[in-house]
Symmetry: C2
Subunit: 507 residues, 2 copies
């Protein structure tokens, strides 16, 4: 089939221009838009609906592990950041600084006034401000473990913002915990990593590789950083969530001490872990196609949309009544212990326009209900994971069984598709720097973003080799938790290899 | 009974020092604490649990009326605020201003760097930044009504902060809507006012008087502001929520225009409405007593707490098993369509300490489970709305019926108690400025905060009379929606009265 003859809802296609395709999918699905504040996005209702589903389901998992939510100040006094020498070193330099607390009119113009004695930084992350509270909350071993989570907005000034992936302001959850022993704290760090993995794979249908970050890629101040790495459709990696074991570094800076069972004063062992609205960007880039978003049913704000088809005004009333009946039937159904979400689109627009709107938004199942369907006591159903013209006819009495079954098929299908793609583009048999370089270099005539994908290979952990990667714009994504344990030579230096590592270009 | 012999959990008592009592209840219930950022509070897990319950239940009501959630930037460019001349006049002057986007080290100290071309204001409310998006979202009458809500943090610099009641940063929801006609927009304003009223009365058990604000107390830029006013136990008023009809004022400033059915371009009619974490302060001041918080069951993070009683180590295992069985039974129960929330307190602390902790936190029902209860296959139950020594013995098989029944009794009891108190302190028969002044003036020997309560009386709406009120630190709280319609003389000026008004001291 001649590509140029196939009309897609999104222009350009993934093949034509992947970065621009990403922007166009977000626009077509009405997920978000820019604002007059550089780097700050507006999350529109459909995008925010996805975030609310992420929040609700992840929050349930976080709470079921004993964590409680709290809320800490948006601002951090400069002097508090100053204490965290190492942390600040690598981190907080690009941030929004509040210096005044009033506006005044001067020649008809508003100007900042009321200079603060001490500037305040808008939180880029909350270790320091939360540490201040924790130092008061923790006194004895009886107060431990302290398991706190916060849903909040944070700001990191971004020079090259990109909607969802890298924005000056973004939304996230940040967990912060204190433990009596190193073992417990490491256990917590890994347990949250596993929570993220299962959430991403089971709910978002995004397969991830979990592993440890190399020294150079660690969170500033962390003893160990663990990560979930996912492959997008352009074969680049996205860091989808991180979990940090902070040792006693932050407890020493914040003076978080407790009296242990022997009556001695000890510093606590802390962790922190988070995922952000970047996950929405990951969903877009992992599952969408040239017709727009494809949403895994477990995260879709609406799983089923019913579009009434009214060929003649005189059938409108009975078709609408039938549509409402179908809606009520579906609303009673459950999918993964939650009510199926369904919406009858009665808006005063053309049926074709409505259909395409829901295709572009990625709704898993679309149902058309017209006079014929009413006559047959059935519905016409389209799956977002199949060609748009493919239709199924279902008897109204089979909805109860079929709707949850189809949602499950789509959910699993998206995951399997993404996993097959990832596995097909994860190369394991590279043995020399030359092969490595070839894998990551666009072929003649290819666009610069075309490259081989992920490499899983032996690595010496030699910091020099990480510098070598720079020229290829490749990074060590992680040292997978699952290590082969075999010996071998570093694929970058030829030296003795100590670990298996994942190498990739990334967002 | 000699007051000084009665030991209360909170010192001072309400009688002794109401403002200080408020602070101590918040501390004893572990709701919130101050931080190193002036005026910014840390909301601790128990306080945040209340906020989460407010969010969930109010969000359900807001969504059931067709609104969708979205998220808009934290920052507002100064030039955008400038456009809202009138709005800014009364409002946005005390706010946090971001002037730099980087920190640099200078002589080992962090200093602000990277001055912004245009300063950014941390949102004190979002009309302007949301208006900017709405001007893009609204094109035709088909796009209306546009019904958007946002849960967010906002910042208003406060010179005299007070936890929950007046803090520099606070959490809230802000609804923003656009309509094709004035009628529809007014309808929306009143519908949200009614949503707030029923939520406050039914869920928070706080009786409120709903009404219109006087001209002088309107939201800057609003055509009309409606409010929910509640009486606290010191007889002062708290403004618990507001709903504004903005006419075309904001749509003109933000250029929110739509093509109507006749093809003509028109400005939309907008509304905005919000409630904040101040509601938690209202809950404390409305229901708490000298032993701490008393939480209405529908808003309590935990409705039932089970404290195992272990007089001898050898009974521990069987008492714990029995406590778990009781918990499972209670967790199956429903109260107002939600699972009853229950917690077995197995922490390694003394039973008496645990009991007092839950009393101070305001848990509606406490259950003690000991060897005797196990023997009798029953539990010992204490209600937070009764004297602490009053105990009920319940057969385990009666829990199913009794727990929801008791929760309902407590919920209604708190509301009736607050309503009786309010009605007893709402004076309707004041006819002269002298009587009015006497009502609001402390009697000989009374503390300055002692006064009569609310006055419902005739008012001329003469702005001069509002100034007269200033000397008494009394304000017109609202013109109740329910108006007598009778004629009469203004109780402040003796002039012809146009309306009935509520006068009170307030937070």
């Amino acid at each position: 089939m001649n590509k140029s003859l196939v009309k897609t809802a999104i222009t350009p296609t993934r093949q034509e221009d992947y970065p621009e395709w990403y922007q166009q999918v977000i626009k077509a699905a009405d997920l978000a838009e820019g604002s007059s504040v550089r780097g700050c996005m507006v999350i529109k209702p459909w995008g925010f609906g996805i975030w609310e589903n992420i929040q609700r389901q992840l929050d349930d998992r976080i709470k079921s592990l004993g964590h409680e939510n709290a809320y800490f100040p948006l601002f951090i006094p400069l002097s508090l950041l100053q204490k965290e020498a190492e942390h600040v070193e690598g981190f907080a330099k690009e941030c929004a600084v509040v210096t005044h607390h009033r506006l005044e009119e001067k020649n008809g113009k508003l100007v900042p006034a009321g200079e603060l004695e001490e500037p305040l930084v808008v939180r880029p992350t909350s270790e320091t401000i939360i540490g201040e509270s924790f130092s008061r909350w923790v006194e004895s071993w009886r107060d431990l473990p302290l398991l706190i989570n916060q849903w909040a907005n944070v700001v990191r000034w971004e020079m090259r913002p990109r909607v969802f992936l890298r924005t000056a302001e973004f939304l996230w959850q940040e967990g912060h915990t204190v433990h009596a022993t190193e073992d417990e704290a490491i256990q917590e760090t890994l347990s949250m990593l596993e929570t993220y993995r299962s959430f991403m794979e089971d709910v978002l249908a995004i397969p991830v590789i979990i592993g440890r970050k190399s020294k150079g890629e660690r969170f500033p101040g962390a003893v160990d950083t663990f990560t979930c790495e996912a492959m997008m459709q352009d074969k680049k990696a996205i860091q989808a969530g991180t979990s940090h074991y902070l040792g006693q570094n932050f407890s020493k800076a914040s003076n978080i001490r407790f009296t242990n069972k022997d009556g001695q004063l000890e510093y606590g062992y802390t962790t922190s872990w988070g995922v952000t609205t970047r996950l929405i960007g990951g969903l877009v880039m992992c599952h969408s196609d040239d017709d727009g978003m494809r949403l895994p049913p477990r995260i879709a704000p609406k799983q089923v949309v019913i579009v009434p088809v009214i060929p003649r005004p005189e059938v409108e009333a009975e078709v609408m009544t039938f549509a409402d009946r179908v809606e009520r039937k579906i609303r009673e159904l459950k999918f993964h212990d939650q009510r199926v979400t369904v919406f009858v689109d009665k808006r005063d627009r053309r049926g074709g326009d409505k259909n395409w709107e829901w295709i572009k938004k990625g709704v898993p199942l679309r149902i058309e209900v017209g006079p014929k369907d009413l006559e047959n006591q059935g519905v016409t159903l389209c799956r977002r994971d199949r060609p748009h013209k493919e239709k199924m006819f279902l008897d109204i009495n089979s909805l109860e069984e079929k709707i949850p079954e189809l949602l499950g098929e789509i959910q699993n299908g998206y995951f399997e598709e993404a996993k097959s793609f990832r596995d097909a583009n994860l190369k394991r048999d590279i043995h020399s720097p030359e092969e490595f370089q070839r894998f990551f270099t666009p072929k003649n005539g290819d666009k610069p973003e075309i490259h081989g994908g992920f490499v899983l290979g032996k690595w010496s952990e030699d910091p020099e080799s990480e510098k070598l990667l720079e020229s290829l714009k490749v990074t060590v994504r992680c040292l997978p938790l699952e290590q082969s344990g075999t010996e071998g030579k570093c694929i970058l230096t030829g030296k003795k290899a100590t670990v298996d590592a994942i190498f990739a270009k990334s967002y």
